[in-house]
């Protein structure tokens, strides 16, 4: 279980302080798929980096299965938005996926197995020997996802992973993530600024205000577990939920402007 308690983050530097996150408290139960949705600049990336142990919060705590996070915890994988910069251009696809496994000191046979399985799972079984820059954007993000699942994490963090790919690829990748989540039983925390994406993917959506950030609502998504792009998005319930999230975010923007 992932626990975020009273998390605060203020960036200081250049004699200027930016309060990115004011006060966030939430838990993500094991095996859940939680979407965090909030406007651009509201501190989603900041929050994810604090959870991943890449950034030290100014206050509050992050705990993973009862252990406080002070550095990158084992058993946590991250997929960044900037797939082009997150994959290493000097390594072939298979080596990119394998590198974290080598760091984990897994035996060679097991590493090869995991690389094969995970690349097959994202539909890139024949891209082992390619360099990342020889692939399209969508394929590169698939490699990053393969690297994450090969790591066999208990928690998978994703920071707007599909913000930079085209609409069709994006739909495919969304279904890929739901499929992997259902199959692997991994806990997923998925960050996005896209309301439709959050509602379509999540079992639950946490709505964030604009900066300084608090949680506006913890909304369970009561859509059926089997979802598909065509039908789910056309259901009245989907429309209701997305309209609700949209109104919440709009209302928050207006109140922030009102008390300035």
């Amino acid at each position: 279980m992932l626990n975020v308690e009273g998390l605060r983050k203020t960036y200081t530097g250049d004699g200027r302080a930016v309060e990115a996150i004011r006060d966030l408290t939430f838990t993500v139960p094991d095996g859940d798929l939680t979407c965090l949705v909030g406007p651009s600049g509201c501190g989603k990336t900041t929050l994810l980096k604090c959870i991943a142990g890449l950034l030290t919060p100014s206050g509050g705590t992050v705990t993973l299965d009862g252990t406080p996070v002070t550095g990158p915890p084992p058993g946590m994988a991250v997929v960044f938005q900037e797939y082009g910069r997150s994959l290493f251009p000097w390594m072939r696809v298979a080596a990119n996926v394998e590198l974290p496994l080598r760091q984990k000191r897994l035996p060679r046979e097991r590493r090869r197995e995991l690389v094969h399985e995970s690349l097959a799972a994202v539909g890139l079984a024949d891209a082992h020997a390619a360099y990342p820059w020889q692939l399209s954007g969508g394929m590169q993000q698939r490699v990053a996802i393969a690297r994450a699942i090969a790591y066999e994490p208990r928690v998978l963090l994703m920071d707007e992973p599909f913000a930079a790919v085209d609409a069709q690829t994006r739909a495919d990748l969304e279904d890929l993530i739901r499929g992997l989540w259902q199959r692997l039983g991994v806990t997923v925390l998925f960050v996005t600024h896209d309301i439709d994406e959050a509602v379509y993917l999540g079992r639950r959506v946490l709505i964030l205000s604009s900066s300084p950030t608090v949680i506006l609502e913890d909304l369970p998504i009561d859509l059926p577990a089997e979802r598909d792009q065509l039908h789910t998005r056309a259901t009245p319930r989907f429309t209701e939920l997305r309209t609700h999230v949209y109104q919440q975010i709009q209302a928050a923007k207006n109140t922030v402007h009102a008390d300035r």
Binding site: K49, A52, G53, L54, P72, P74, M76, A77, V78, F80, E82, R85, S86, F88, P89, W90, M91, L99, P100, Q103, K104, D126, A127, A129, A130, Y131, W133, Q134, L135, R147, Y151
Partner: protein
């Protein structure tokens, strides 16, 4: 590609022809500039002499050794300074002061300290080549992509693993540039050192040819140093292309 090579060869042939004709027409005394055919003849004579090969070996020894020392020191120090921000601040101004000192300005100093042997030549070569490499490595380590580094950290790579898998590959294109520049500068300093100090090598042989009035031989030796320079540059570029297959500057449109 073929056409360019042909043009280049035609240009070279024209240049040699002019070199042949100018002294033959008496435009320049052949005491200062012998015709190209005589220079080629002298080159043939040189190649037949063991003393020439000894000199060539001495020059190349100094070059290889100096470049090796400079490379190891420059790369190790560059990575260290790059990995420790405090060291970067501490050394910045010192580097900016020491780097522009021309290596040849050290000649009197090294002659007093070390005499006129291989060591003196080495010091000159190492000093000149070291800065070329160090400065490039420092540029390279500054080029590390924060997203790549954070990815590595998120997947549990500790500092030394990140140096091997992120910092070093990022810096490699810069290291290669540094090595290529250093290789050229090292050759220049080798020959300069030999000419001025008299450390054994091609430079001394050029000086001897000059004082004994063997003008064609002197030109032949100059040609040899030129060819060495070309070979070093071609070799360095080939190494660079192999090591950086993945880099933008080299990437081919190879199919997956």
């Amino acid at each position: 590609m073929r056409g360019r090579l042909a043009l280049g060869l035609a240009g070279l042939a024209g240049f040699l022809l002019i070199l042949e004709v100018i002294p033959r027409l008496g435009l320049v005394s052949s005491r200062y500039l012998p015709p190209a055919t005589e220079i080629v003849g002298a080159l043939g004579r040189e190649l037949a002499e063991t003393a020439f090969w000894t000199a060539l070996r001495d020059t190349l020894n100094g070059w290889v050794l100096g470049l090796l020392i400079a490379a190891v020191a420059g790369i190790a120090l560059g990575l260290l300074i790059g990995a420790v921000p405090l060291l970067r601040e501490l050394t910045a101004s010192t580097i900016e002061f020491l780097r522009p000192i021309p290596s040849v300005a050290l000649i009197p100093l090294v002659v007093v300290l070390l005499g006129t042997g291989l060591e003196s030549k080495l010091v000159l070569v190492v000093y000149a080549a070291f800065w070329q490499i160090l400065v490039q490595v420092l540029y390279g380590v500054r080029d590390v992509d924060p997203v790549a580094d954070e990815t590595a950290r998120a997947y549990g790579l500790d500092r030394s693993a990140r140096i091997v898998h992120v910092l070093w590959p990022t810096a490699l294109p810069f290291v290669m540039t540094g090595l290529r520049l250093a290789a050229a500068v090292a050759l220049i300093l080798c020959v300069t050192g030999e000419l001025v100090i008299g450390a054994p090598g091609l430079g001394t042989r050029i000086a001897i040819a000059q004082t004994s009035g063997a003008v064609a031989d002197m030109y032949a030796l100059i040609v040899v140093t030129g060819l060495l320079g070309v070979a070093i540059n071609v070799g360095a570029r080939a190494v660079e292309r192999r090591a950086l297959r993945w880099h933008q500057s080299v990437r081919s449109e190879a199919a997956v």
